[in-house]
């Protein structure tokens, strides 16, 4: 990945409308599925923008207008400032990665040949293409020496999806379109692919337009979320946290779900919030010293830690009875929450262990603080409500007009 460029482009929708023939007969008067109505929004370079909404809301149409698989009825779509209709569709598409739910690997080509599709269309020379194929397979965690020569049907669903991502990235496009890319795999594999993809995106920093009908996936994957309502109208375009805290209207509120406060737990990590402090004591240290530390801490039960600062358990009152601390535990230090856990998982741990608080450790296993139900509930506190118009449309021209970052890593 040494020569991985971080190349990304701004995608802009400017009053884009797609009309289909109006339904007739019984459905007359209903909105046409897939239509898009006067959509204006801007996807910043290097960010994941999720298009989400009920079926027929036009989210897939919106995505497919970017690479001109569907042509808009009116309006303009710009890629890094350039109107997409300015170049022939085939050439445009070679600059845009494309990943679909059913993957669509070519069954008659090996994995290497599949990944080499766009480089070959662009007439890269053979050795550059081969090197790129191996690099891409490595990038998605598939050993090239094992998988290069295999055929798609020899792979599991999750592996095929990885190859699909590698194929889409092969020519290093500044923009990737992903249409429910993890929709066809089982929930466990999906979770894994999502996490892998988020890690991958940290490296590659592409502009990604991602379609899903699953609001939980949208919240997990998105930097920005565009909620579309039936009829192809943009209901809200905001960050996941904003969407959950300040839904623009009842439709968005319904769509994100009644448990939107709980969903926000999935957005924050333990390291993002103010933890309680606890007194840490070691076996054999003077009790007077321990009592002084306990007085300063947020919680009046001290934690026994080992020489490396790793929590062992909560000290019982009897441990403080003598001159020196004796390692008498009232309970073990369980569950152990990690700084990188999302609050939702940490809360689940607390509930499952039937405790109100638990120690938090850093990646080395050392104590970093104490997480309690109260700390979590404070973190969910919504600042005074703002106006319900947080939908951001195209910002005035001029700001970050040049946001492609092309820098050798």
């Amino acid at each position: 990945m040494a020569d991985q460029h971080r190349q990304a482009a701004v995608v802009e929708f400017d009053h884009v409308t797609k009309r289909y023939d109006a339904p007739t007969g019984r459905d007359k008067g209903k909105p046409t599925p897939g239509a898009v109505n006067d959509l204006s929004m801007k996807v910043p370079a290097g960010k994941i923008c999720i298009l989400v909404g009920p079926s027929g809301c036009g989210k897939t149409t919106t995505m497919k207008m970017i690479n001109r698989i569907i042509e808009p009825t009116s309006g303009t779509i710009r890629l890094q400032g350039e109107d997409v209709t300015g170049s022939p569709p085939d050439e445009l598409r070679r600059r845009i990665g494309y990943v679909i739910q059913q993957v669509g690997l070519f069954p008659h080509l090996t994995i290497a040949d599949n990944v080499a599709t766009v480089p070959r269309l662009l007439r890269w020379d053979g050795s550059r293409t081969r090197a790129r194929v191996d690099e891409m397979l490595d990038l998605v965690g598939m050993d090239p020496s094992i998988y290069r020569g295999r055929y798609p049907k020899e792979l599991s669903g999750g592996q095929r999806q990885r190859v699909g991502v590698a194929r889409a990235l092969a020519a290093d496009p500044p923009v990737m379109l992903m249409d429910e890319p993890f929709g066809a795999v089982d929930p466990i594999a999906r979770e894994k692919l999502q996490n892998e993809f988020l890690r991958l995106q940290e490296d590659i920093g592409k502009t990604i337009v991602f379609v899903t009908h699953d609001i939980d996936e949208a919240i997990k994957m998105g930097d920005r979320i565009a909620v579309l309502r039936t009829g192809g109208k943009l209901a809200q375009y905001a960050s996941p946290a904003e969407l959950l805290m300040y839904p623009a209207d009842e439709f968005v509120e319904d769509f994100v779900g009644a448990d939107r406060a709980l969903k926000r737990l999935a957005l924050q990590r333990v390291r993002d919030i103010d933890l309680w402090t606890a007194a840490t004591v070691r076996s054999g240290e003077p009790v007077a010293e321990a009592r002084r530390k306990i007085a300063e801490a947020d919680i009046d039960i001290p934690l026994v830690v080992d020489d490396h600062g790793r929590p062992q358990g909560w000290l019982s009152e009897r441990g403080l009875a003598g001159e020196r601390v004796r390692p008498e535990l009232r309970s073990r230090a369980e569950p152990l929450v990690e700084l990188d856990d999302v609050l939702r998982d940490a809360l689940a741990d607390l509930i499952e262990s039937e405790v109100h608080y638990s120690p938090v450790v850093d990646p080395d296993g050392c104590l970093a603080g104490v997480l309690s139900l109260e700390v979590i509930s404070q973190s969910l506190h919504v600042p005074p409500e703002r106006a319900r118009t947080s939908t951001e449309l195209v910002e005035p021209a001029g700001d970050d007009a040049v946001s492609a970052e092309i820098e050798p890593a």
Binding site: P89, D90, G104, L121, K153
Partner: protein, 236 residues
């Protein structure tokens, strides 16, 4: 069918002296070994008739199938026409064409080409239309032109069905070509008819036709296996 209409007369290809295997119309290995050379040129005629007919038939079916692939409405009427062609009794077809194209290989080839269409055209159209929508969607999304999509994706994926059609068409043509002598085109059928009561002759000429069909079939099958390694890959 009166014998007078037939293009060939019965020939003596054996001694009729009494008491021998030959005069008894029997199966005579000695006679077969001595007379094998009689079958070389009918066999070659048969091979040429088959290959030329199937070759031309393939080219026509391919062109029309590509048209039907682009213009959906072409497919149904052409498909129906190929079926109608196939229902014409072959002997009748050969004889009916004689006034138009005269006696000889041309007449036979015209009729044989007609009979290949039902297998070739239908399998080509089916093969092309069976390519998954998701595969085509991905191909277009990556920037393949319609032409590249056809030659790099759709046709390679249709190869198994196209070659399956070619196998049936070829075997059927070897079989139907045994009647091509009605059109004066020779072949193994003509050889059978020269002495239709002599078992040795019928067995050798008929046997060669069967072997020829089997050989063509195996060749195409082998070609298909070489051309489609991806079909043999084991599923995960």
């Amino acid at each position: 069918m009166s014998a007078a209409l037939l293009p060939l007369v019965q020939l003596d290809i054996r001694s009729r002296r009494g008491g021998t295997c030959e005069s008894e119309d029997g199966f005579c290995p000695d006679w077969i070994v001595d007379n094998l050379d009689r079958y070389v040129s009918p066999l070659l005629e048969h091979v040429v008739l088959t290959m030329v007919s199937v070759g031309i038939g393939f080219a026509i079916a391919f062109a029309v199938a590509l048209l039907a692939h682009r213009r959906e409405w072409v497919s149904a009427p052409v498909g129906a026409l190929t079926s109608v062609l196939f229902t014409i009794p072959s002997v009748a077809a050969f004889l009916l064409l004689v006034p138009l194209t005269g006696l000889g290989p041309l007449t036979a080839i015209v009729a044989l080409v007609g009979y290949t269409q039902v297998f070739l055209f239908r399998n080509m159209v089916n093969g092309l239309s069976n390519v998954g929508e998701e595969t085509k969607d991905a191909a277009r999304g990556m920037g393949l032109t319609e032409r590249q999509l056809l030659w790099r994706v759709e046709l390679p994926l249709a190869v198994p069905e196209i070659l399956a059609g070619l196998r049936i068409a070829t075997v059927t043509t070897v079989n139907l070509a045994t009647l091509a002598f009605f059109a004066g085109a020779g072949g193994l059928g003509a050889q059978i008819y020269t002495d239709i009561t002599f078992r040795s002759n019928v067995v050798v000429a008929g046997g060669l036709a069967i072997l020829l069909a089997a050989l063509f079939d195996l060749l195409i099958l082998g070609g298909q296996r070489l051309a489609t390694p991806w079909r043999r890959a084991a599923a995960a």
